[in-house]
């Protein structure tokens, strides 16, 4: 797992909360910083991909590990 500046555990939360919490956390971060999001909602995989494409925040990594989904998002 690459390095990150902040971590957000959205485990147990359902659509659209992981995205909304991630957006809120990114708002308080600086450009270039990396946010690590952990989620259990299977829908979040496509959602974070779409979030990244539409907001310009780069999705550096998206993977599943032990039933949890991990996303590394670099703030644009």
């Amino acid at each position: 797992m690459a390095e990150f500046d902040q971590e957000l555990d959205a485990s147990g939360l359902n659509c659209p909360l992981p995205i909304l919490r991630a957006k809120k956390t990114l708002n308080g971060m600086d450009a270039g910083q990396v946010l690590h999001v952990i989620a259990t909602d299977p829908g979040s995989v496509k959602d974070f991909d779409a979030f990244s494409k539409q907001t310009g925040n780069e999705l550096m990594e998206s993977k599943e590990d032990g039933g949890k989904f991990h996303f590394m998002i670099k703030k644009s």
């Binding site: 147990g12 659509c15 659209p16 909360l17 909304l20 979030f51």
Partner: protein
């Protein structure tokens, strides 16, 4: 990149139908959309300070019922006193256990994200509602004001 715009008309005042406008608006705001929701008729219930939203299986054959009740329970039984309250409590419990946000929470998130919430002035007058019943930070306007924004929107939904 120009900011995209989403305009929603929310017309329904039940617990289940409270979700689509608030989920879509909060998500759109997170994606960078400028978003407005125009609440009219029963949709105004979604702007009350104290939300008392309920869900009913009556007239809704698509609503999944607990314990396969829809298979053996007579439709008329659903009209019994207390049934709606029970269904609402069960639905809320289910949502909580699945990590689905409450309507209050989604509404707060919309307001935090600067989603503009507009109450239909005509309906407020029609139902003799009082502005003190509604949450702060909303606007009161009519159809023409909605079109000013909706006419420039990229997406416009009637819910």
């Amino acid at each position: 990149m120009d900011e995209k715009k989403l305009a929603i008309i929310a017309t329904k005042g039940s617990l289940d139908w409270a979700y689509p406008p608030f989920i879509l608006a909060s998500t759109a705001a997170a994606l960078g959309y400028e978003t407005q929701i125009f609440f009219t008729f029963y949709g105004l219930q979604l702007l009350k300070k104290k939300l008392a939203l309920e869900v009913t299986p009556l007239g809704n054959p698509g609503m999944p019922m607990p314990m396969g009740m829809d298979k053996w329970f007579p439709v008329l039984g659903l009209a019994l006193p207390g049934m709606q309250g029970m269904m609402t409590a069960m639905m809320k419990q289910k949502m909580k256990s699945k990590g689905v946000a409450s309507v209050d929470e989604l509404r707060d998130l919309c307001q935090e994200a600067d989603v503009k919430l507009i109450a239909c002035q005509m309906t407020v007058d029609l139902f003799d509602m009082d502005q003190s019943e509604f949450i702060d930070g909303i606007e009161y306007a009519g159809a023409a004001a909605f079109f000013e924004f909706a006419g420039e929107s990229d997406i416009c939904l009637y819910i």
